[in-house]
C-alpha cells in the first residue's frame, strides 16, 4: 500500500538530485562576497525549508488524526515529524559548517534562522521520548497528535519571535533566498525541489517499512491465535495484542 510508486519516486529523486548538484557546481555563478563557500546555501536552505514544512505538515496530519481518529493519520504524522527531525539535524550541521566557514565559529547567534532551528529541534527531539513513555497506545497517539499540533503552530511563531529579537541588532549574515539573480534562483529552486522529493521518498520508504513490520506482527499474532508455537521475541515497545484488543473494543 505504501510501497506503490516508490520506485518511480526514487528515480525522480535521483534525477532531481543529480541535476541539482550539477547546477550547483557547474552552472551557478560564484558569489561576489562569499565566493565558493556560498555553495553551501544550496543544500542548507532547502534542508531547512523542507524540515520546517515537514514539521508543519506533521501538525496538519495530526489534526486529521484527531478529527477522524483513524490511526493511519497518526502513523503518517509520526513519520513526517521523524523525517523532518533528521532533515533539521542536517540543516543544523550544514548551517554550523557554513558559520564556521564564514565567521570562524561553529555557532553564531546572529543568524536567526539557525537559532530558531535549534529551538525547534530541541522541541521536536522530545516527540519520540514522549510517545514511548506513554504506555497506552490510544492515549499515546492522541497525546502525540496534540503535541504535533502545538509544536507545528509553534514553528512559525518561534521564527517570528527570534527574527524580531535579532533583527535590529545584527543584519542577516548568511544571506537570504530573496533577491537572487536568475541562475542562482534556478539552481536554488531545483535544489529545493530535489530535497523535497528526497523527503517524500524517504517518508514513503519509512511508511512502507513500518507498515510491513506491523503486518508481520499482525501475522505473528494471528498465528499465535491459531495455537502455533512462537519463539519469544526480544525487547519491544510495541503494544501487545491484549492492549490493542482492549483499545479497539472501547472504540
Amino acid at each position: 500500500m505504501y510501497g506503490k510508486g516508490l520506485r518511480s519516486l526514487s528515480i525522480a529523486t535521483v534525477a532531481a538530485m543529480a541535476l541539482a548538484l550539477a547546477l550547483v557546481f557547474f552552472y551557478a555563478p560564484l558569489e561576489a562576497e562569499e565566493g565558493f563557500l556560498q555553495k553551501i546555501f544550496y543544500i542548507h536552505v532547502p534542508l531547512a525549508i523542507v524540515a520546517l514544512c515537514g514539521f508543519v505538515i506533521g501538525g496538519l496530519l495530526a489534526i486529521q488524526h484527531l478529527r477522524t481518529r483513524d490511526p493511519k493519520w497518526d502513523f503518517r504524522s509520526y513519520v513526517a515529524i521523524h523525517m523532518s527531525l533528521i532533515f533539521a539535524l542536517g540543516a543544523l550541521i550544514t548551517g554550523s559548517i557554513w558559520a564556521r566557514g564564514s565567521w570562524g565559529h561553529w555557532w553564531v547567534w546572529s543568524e536567526p534562522t539557525l537559532v530558531s532551528f535549534l529551538i525547534v529541534f530541541l522541541l521536536y527531539a522530545t516527540y519520540q521520548p514522549l510517545r514511548f513513555s506513554i504506555e497506552d497506545p490510544e492515549r499515546q497517539s492522541r497525546y502525540a497528535s496534540v503535541f504535533a499540533i502545538t509544536a507545528g503552530a509553534f514553528v512559525p511563531l518561534n521564527f517570528i519571535a527570534v527574527r524580531l529579537s535579532s533583527a535590529y541588532l545584527h543584519p542577516r549574515v548568511l544571506g537570504s533566498a530573496s533577491n537572487l539573480p536568475g541562475p542562482m534562483r534556478l539552481t536554488f529552486l531545483v535544489s529545493l525541489g530535489a530535497i523535497s522529493l528526497l523527503f517524500v521518498t524517504l517518508c514513503k520508504y519509512e511508511l512502507a517499512a513500518k507498515h510491513t513490520r506491523a503486518q508481520v506482527r499482525a501475522l505473528r499474532r494471528r498465528l499465535a491465535g491459531e495455537g502455533v508455537e512462537l519463539p519469544r521475541r526480544g525487547r519491544s515497545a510495541a503494544p501487545s495484542a491484549t492492549t490493542i484488543a482492549a483499545g479497539r473494543s472501547g472504540a
Binding site: 484527531l66 481518529r69 529551538i119 525547534v120 530541541l122 522541541l123 522530545t126 521520548p129 514522549l130 513513555s133 506513554i134 504506555e135 497506552d136 490510544e138 492515549r139 492522541r142 497525546y143 497528535s145 496534540v146 503535541f147 499540533i149 502545538t150 509544536a151 503552530a153 509553534f154 511563531l157 518561534n158 517570528i160 519571535a161 527570534v162 524580531l164 529579537s165 472501547g250 472504540a251
Partner: protein
C-alpha cells in the same frame, strides 16, 4: 472512548470554572505544595546567581535575563505539579463524569497557575530588587508589572498544556521542563527584551511596545490552541 459533552452543558461555564478554581486554591492553601517551593526556589536561585556570576549587582540586559530565567524555572516547578494530584487521585475521572463543559478545567488550571505565578512574583521581584538589582525599580515599575503579567499569561497557558501532556508519561518530572522550555522561549525573548530598559540604571527608554505586542499575540495564539486541543487530552 467517552464522547465529548457538547455545548449544551447543564452547568454554566463560569460557575464550573469558579468551583474548580476555588477547589484548586483551597487545596493549595491547605497543602502549600507549590507556591512556597516556587518562591523559595526563586530566591535561592538569585543567591546562586550572585556566586555564579561573582557580581554584587546586575542591571539592564543581565538583570532582565536573570529575572526571567529564574521566573521561568520556578514556574516550571509549578507546571510539574499542576495535574499530578488529579492524575494520582482520580480527579480526572470525577470531572469527566460531571455534566460540565470540559474547557472549564483548562480555564481553571490556567487561572490557578496564573495565581501561583503572581504570588511567586510578589516574592521574587522584591527579592531580586533587594539582592541583585543595581537599579531602582521605581520608574519602570508599572511597565514591568504589565510585562510580567503578559508573560505570566503565556507561561500559565503553555504550562497547563504541557502539564496535561506530561502527566501521563512515565517520567513526568522530566517531560514538563523539556516540553515547556522551548515553547516558552518566545516569552523569554519578549519578556526580557521588554524588561531590560526597565531594569537599567539609566532609565533611558520605556519598554518597547513591540515586545509587549509579541507577548500578547503569543498568549492569544497559544490560548486558542490550548482551548482547541485540551479536550483531547482529557478523554479517557
Amino acid at each position: 472512548m467517552s464522547a465529548r459533552v457538547g455545548v449544551s452543558a447543564t452547568v454554566g461555564l463560569r460557575r464550573t470554572v469558579a468551583a474548580l478554581l476555588r477547589k484548586e486554591l483551597l487545596v493549595e492553601l491547605r497543602t502549600l505544595q507549590s507556591v512556597p517551593g516556587m518562591s523559595l526556589f526563586a530566591v535561592t536561585t538569585f543567591v546562586v546567581f550572585h556566586f555564579a556570576l561573582n557580581r554584587n549587582t546586575v542591571d539592564g540586559d543581565l538583570a532582565a535575563g536573570i529575572l526571567w530565567v529564574t521566573l521561568l524555572f520556578a514556574a516550571v516547578l509549578g507546571v510539574n505539579r499542576v495535574f499530578v494530584a488529579d492524575a494520582e487521585q482520580g480527579g480526572f475521572d470525577g470531572f469527566l463524569l460531571a455534566p460540565v463543559d470540559r474547557s472549564a478545567m483548562l480555564i481553571a488550571k490556567v487561572l490557578t497557575l496564573l495565581a501561583y505565578l503572581v504570588v511567586l512574583e510578589l516574592v521574587a521581584v522584591p527579592a531580586f530588587a533587594l539582592l541583585l538589582l543595581g537599579a531602582s525599580l521605581g520608574p519602570g515599575l508599572a511597565e514591568l508589572i504589565a510585562t510580567l503579567a503578559l508573560g505570566d499569561v503565556g507561561i500559565a497557558v503553555i504550562g497547563t498544556l504541557v502539564g496535561a501532556l506530561a502527566v501521563h508519561t512515565s517520567a513526568r518530572d522530566l517531560f514538563g521542563p523539556l516540553l515547556a522550555l522551548p515553547l516558552l522561549v518566545p516569552i523569554v525573548i519578549g519578556g526580557s527584551r521588554a524588561s531590560s530598559p526597565l531594569l537599567s540604571v539609566t532609565h533611558s527608554a520605556g519598554a518597547q511596545g513591540r515586545w509587549l505586542l509579541t507577548l500578547g499575540l503569543y498568549d492569544l495564539v497559544f490560548g486558542l490552541i490550548a482551548f482547541a486541543l485540551f479536550d483531547f487530552l482529557l478523554e479517557d
